[in-house]
């Protein structure tokens, strides 16, 4: 065995109108085989109408260690939510 088949991440749209969602991963020699394998592994029971495959090494992921820096600033920005604004009760449709 010289070289292992690379890892691919599989995204499936379960029906039109919904986004593609990450379903899992699998090994395949190329994109075409990844698609074929994804069909067999992840859509045996009508789970999908469209499949995306992305080689795992091409995904850049955020590091959980940076979560504070990345996501905490949003926590104190309550003015981004409608409930922050106080309006009299008789204002309707808003």
């Amino acid at each position: 065995m010289k070289k292992n088949w690379p890892l691919w991440e599989i995204f499936v749209r379960s029906k039109n109108g919904l986004e593609h969602r990450h379903f899992g991963s699998l090994h395949a020699s190329d994109a075409e085989m990844a698609l074929e394998n994804a069909r067999d592994v992840y859509t045996r029971r009508n789970e999908g109408v469209s499949i995306w495959v992305v080689e795992s090494k091409n995904i850049t992921a955020s590091n959980p260690d940076d979560n504070g820096e990345l996501f905490e600033p949003a926590q104190d920005k309550v003015y981004r939510h409608p409930t922050f604004y106080e309006l009299p009760d008789d204002v309707k449709h808003m």
């Binding site: 065995m1 070289k3 292992n4 088949w5 899992g24 699998l26 020699s29 085989m33 045996r44 959980p64």
Partner: protein, 317 residues
């Protein structure tokens, strides 16, 4: 990192799990958590893969096209389960090749039940009914386990398992409604698969080493003995409907406890099989290793083809 810092991180980590938060692959985790998960998930994956072999034995000899299509679909599902679980395992930084190597060298275990032979068609019924039935009892609680990829894989697996059990029970039902010989065949299969199915739920609580830690990490929610009792309680009435007799003279409904009392399990047999001395351990491993080795040239050829296509594409640009 100092010992003190690690201790602090561990405390935060355990608190997250206690709050029912999920752990994802890139999160910090204690080394023991990572190792335990690699071990349990890979063992689980191996069981799904090796589990295809006893049933694969009957695909070409299924008694009707309906049965054949169902069995084929079931065995294909088991391959899928293995793949979901291997993928989940790989998120912890172990490669598929390492996992196969551990299986093929005998370093990794798989469920002892798959080391028993499938000698008649009724075994397909008994396996679906009892073995998949016991597997479901084991797996359902894992849909809420703490490690995200494992929990997600188990949700998919559990959705697919109920067809496995139903198709098995239907085979038993058909045999039991058939001729005298057919019913005998069903009884014989039950006789052979009953005790191994009980063993499949693991050693008794007194002998089980990992339970406490596993409970904390939600790798386990009920003890082996509790799961076994649950399995017996739900299976006995199903055997009654088939008109079959559970091969245990000590089996008796206990009005007081609201459970069935049952006879002694032959744990020596269990440990023998776990240690590699079951009726089919060697045969199963040989089939696995042969499939892997004989397929090597196909994997290499596919990779060479993919690389050549890539190269041609680059040159064309």
């Amino acid at each position: 990192m100092s010992e003190h810092e690690v201790k602090k991180l561990e405390e935060i980590f355990e608190a997250r799990i206690a709050r029912d938060e999920k752990i994802e692959p890139k999160d910090w985790m204690p080394e023991k958590y990572r190792k335990t998960h690699i071990r349990q998930m890979s063992q689980h994956a191996h069981s799904e893969i090796v589990g295809m072999l006893p049933e694969g034995n009957w695909i070409t000899r299924a008694p009707s096209l309906r049965r054949k299509a169902a069995l084929l679909a079931k065995v294909q599902d088991e391959a899928g389960h293995g793949l979901y679980l291997y993928s989940a395992c790989e998120t912890l930084g172990v490669s598929r090749d390492e996992l196969f190597e551990q299986l093929h060298s005998g370093k990794a275990k798989y469920s002892s039940i798959f080391n028993y032979p499938t000698v008649t068609w009724a075994d397909m019924g008994a396996i679906g009914w009892l073995v998949d039935g016991a597997a479901i009892i084991n797996q359902v609680p894992l849909c809420n386990t703490s490690f995200g990829p494992y929990a997600r894989a188990m949700v998919r697996v559990c959705k697919e398992e109920s067809f496995h059990q139903r198709q098995g029970y239907e085979i038993m039902l058909t045999l039991c409604k058939g001729s005298e010989e057919q019913k005998e065949m069903a009884q014989d299969a039950l006789n052979r698969w009953w005790w191994p199915s009980l063993m499949m739920l693991g050693p008794t609580d007194a002998e089980s080493v990992h339970t406490e830690q596993s409970m904390k990490w939600k790798l386990k929610r009920k003890s082996n003995d509790e799961l076994r009792q649950q399995f017996i309680d739900q299976t006995v009435p199903q055997a009654d409907i088939l008109g079959l007799t559970i091969p245990d003279p000590d089996l008796k409904w206990n009005e007081e406890t609201g459970h069935y009392d049952f006879g002694e399990i032959d744990w020596d047999e269990f440990w023998q099989v776990v240690k590699g001395h079951g009726p089919c351990n060697k045969e199963r491993m040989k089939a696995r290793v042969d499939a892997w080795e004989n397929g090597a040239w196909v994997r290499d050829a596919a990779m060479a083809h993919a690389e050549k296509k890539q190269k041609n594409l680059k040159e064309a640009i």
